[in-house]
Amino acid sequence: MRARVNGAERELSPGMSIGALVNEVAADAKAVAVALNRAMIPRKEWSAVQVQEGDDIEIVAPFHGG
């Protein structure tokens, strides 16, 4: 199953949850937030939401900014 994660195409296991994906991409990251197909997914829903073929996922965290 292919999906777009932070702008790059990735091969993901079918049925993978957002939570599992976050663990894979940003295991040590703190204060992470996720947008799935341009909608924010609250942390409490991460384990229940499964990534689908062709999804566009952004995983972000605080970064230096003005």
Binding site: N6, G7, V25, A26, D28, A29, K30, A31, V32, A33, V34, A35, R38, A39, M40, P42, R43, E58, I59, V60, A61, P62, F63, H64, G65, G66
Partner: protein, 258 residues
Amino acid sequence: MSDETLQIGELELHSRVLLGSAMYPSTQVMLDCVAASGTEMVTVALRRVSPGAKGESLYELLHRAGVHILPNTAGCYTAEDAVLTAQLGREAIGTELVKLEVIADDQTLLPDAAGLLQAAEELVRDGFVVLPYTNDDPVLARRLEDIGCAAIMPLAAPIGSGLGVRNPHNLSLIKERASVPVIVDAGLGTASDVTIVLELGCDGVLLNSAVARAGDPVMMAQAMRAAAAAGAAAFRARRMPRKYHAEASTPAKGTPWR
């Protein structure tokens, strides 16, 4: 709001300086500037996580420094992007605060007034404490306040220009008509710029480039802190009236040989 505090929504800050977290020569210099400026609120952006990033995250460092973290929507060119970025910031950091930026174009980095109003309205409705980065336009400022923004953040000059206050008259008008704090954001270059803003009666400043890109950022952070205190005190002290002609301060009476 008392003379010594800056009230943003429910928050009471004891410093009139807000600081950005970008462009410092190192993370340690950034933390030293946070301490030296006396700030209690630091802005951050939301960006893609870098896999395998090592060391303490910016979030942890700022959290440990004991400051409020103000997520921005930098890099957003539409109201839709700004609203989504604000939602990501709230989820990531657990704060209702957002420094709302809807930028018109890359060359000017000026706010897009229409997009800003639209995003502000949606975010206020969704419970955010919205601090909009806006033009120094008194009418737009009033509209943003009417929508329910918690502060107004007019620019002094274009972002990163360090040109200082281009239109003090407009900043005065914005302040005169506002009942929420006016925090001047963008374009300040040095300590005297900060003093001018506070002397005009504005409530605070948000600084980033002026500190981070100074030759000695930590010394500049100290200078900014002093400048804000001086400007706020001068405003409260009510400056003397301006006069067209000279007026001797030493009395003429009793002058010898006259």
